[in-house]
């Protein structure tokens, strides 16, 4: 089922066009990977999906991005609500300088002023979803920065889940993690896929091949090819895709 429909999206930083005529469907309860060389526009594209680029001066989008049929660029779209529905996890874990508990409770407190009892249950549920509960249940008051990097990234994911999003955007979520922590995040993504629409930007093509259902290849701001991951990594249709994934271009 289509969760997001991107239609003829153009994106500009000032006069510079960085995305050109991007159209693609993104299905619910699937993992969609976006690959391409640095500067190809894949992270910019990811950030358009919850309008994170709005904060950049001179940034401008044309076209439509429909979330469950509703254009996220419409004047009636409440951006805070949009970002609650479309959460994001970044390249490096970025926990707030607060306790483990407060990090996860941050969003629900801000967005809907959750009551203490409900909040405790929500924090536990979120930490359980990312497989962190058993590791931190006795240290909920501990400074989040004392966790390992892998734990911090899962904490950030729990923080995202705590506001009960529908879509999770991940911008190279494992680039700062060691191989084991990377595999934990990947395993987690596969579990979360049962409940969420996930879009991941990654430079690690093996990771894209391992975790995603569909893959889009970006090149110079254009979506060159978008297909089932298995097809992209075994017999892509476009020669440029082939050259990129075999390491001969990019």
């Amino acid at each position: 089922m289509e969760k997001i429909s991107v239609q003829h999206l153009n994106f500009f930083y000032g006069v510079k066009q960085v995305l050109t005529d991007i159209s693609l469907p993104i299905d619910d309860r699937q993992i969609t990977a976006l690959i391409g060389p640095s500067g190809c526009g894949k992270s910019t594209f990811l950030r358009t999906l919850n309008r994170m680029n709005d904060t950049i001066a001179g940034a401008r989008a044309e076209g439509q991005i429909l979330l469950d049929g509703e254009n996220i660029f419409a004047p009636t779209m409440e951006v805070t609500q949009l970002r609650a529905r479309v959460g994001m996890v970044f390249q490096r874990p970025n926990p707030f300088p607060q306790s483990v508990f407060d990090n996860v409770a941050f969003g629900p407190r801000i967005l809907n002023g959750a009551r203490a009892q409900a909040l405790t249950a929500l924090v536990e549920a979120s930490l359980r979803q990312v497989g962190l509960w058993d590791e931190v249940k006795d240290q909920l008051g501990q400074d989040a920065l004392r966790l390992s990097l892998g734990q911090q990234q899962r904490l950030c994911l729990a923080r995202t889940l705590a506001v009960q999003p529908e879509v999770i955007l991940m911008d190279e979520p494992c680039s700062a993690l060691d191989p084991l922590a990377t595999l934990e995040i990947e395993e987690l993504m596969r579990r979360l896929r049962e409940r969420y629409c996930i879009v991941i930007v990654t430079h690690n093509m093996q990771q894209a091949a391992r975790v995603s259902d569909r893959t889009g290849f970006f090149w110079l701001g254009q979506l060159v090819e978008y297909d089932a991951t298995q097809t992209i990594f075994t017999r892509p249709r476009n020669a440029l895709t082939e050259d990129y994934i075999t390491g001969r271009a990019g």
Binding site: M205, A209, R235, T246, G247, R248
Partner: protein
């Protein structure tokens, strides 16, 4: 080029596969020539040569796994490595058919053959040429050539049928020749099977280029199903 080392490793894999294929081609024609000449010593040496072919298969498999583990090939690169893994197994089996013919040579008592072997060497030559072309198609990524090769299997099948009929006639005429005739039938069978396996190599040559698994029916040349 960012993948110079990988390109060299792929080329080396292909070259070593061709070296193995060359040994297998020679084994096929040598085994039949030795049978025709009743060269028992040569047959024993050929059986020993097969051990080297088997070792080449294991070495190439190991090298393919190293390339997969260290270079993580994708798309057409992955198909090439996968095809080499498959091909060396097929080549090893074709080598076994040659060894089988050498063993048949040793099982036939030191006596003249029932009739001059004209058709078995012809079968071996056609199979050798098919094998050579199949590897050529693989290395040159020539789909048209790979599709054309299995048609030659018709000639091998026809010769196999003729050899069987001729030997059956000899058995009917004189049942005392049954043992040798039966062994010669098995030698022909080995060659027929070797040619069939060349068809599998052709399928992999096509797969390497197109990414599609195409079954080429050796009995219906040029057909796919």
């Amino acid at each position: 080029m960012p993948r110079d080392l990988f390109e060299r490793e792929l080329e080396q894999l292909q070259n070593e596969m061709l070296t193995m294929a060359h040994a297998v081609e020679n084994a096929l024609t040598d085994a039949v020539a030795m049978l025709a000449q009743r060269d028992m010593e040569g047959a024993r040496a050929l059986i020993a040569r097969d051990r080297a072919i088997n070792q080449q298969r294991f070495d190439l498999e190991a090298q393919c796994l190293v390339v997969v583990a260290t270079q993580q090939p994708m798309a057409s690169d992955l198909r090439i490595v996968a095809a080499i893994l498959f091909n060396v197994n097929e080549l090893e089996r074709i080598g076994d058919y040659a060894k089988g013919i050498a063993k048949i040579n040793l099982r036939i008592p030191p006596e003249p053959l029932l009739q001059p072997l004209a058709d078995l060497p012809r079968m071996a030559e056609i199979t050798r040429a098919m094998l050579h072309s199949a590897l050529d198609a693989f290395v040159r990524r020539d789909v048209a050539l790979a599709r054309a090769i299995p048609r030659q299997d018709d000639a091998v099948d026809a010769l196999f049928e003729k050899v069987n009929q001729d030997l059956l006639q000899l058995i009917i005429a004189d049942s005392r020749v049954t043992a040798q005739a039966n062994l010669l039938m098995w030698a022909a069978h080995n060659l027929e099977r070797a040619a069939d396996r060349v068809t599998n190599l052709c399928e992999r040559a096509i797969f390497t280029v197109t990414g599609e698994f195409v079954e080429m029916d050796a009995d219906e040349p040029g057909q796919t199903d």
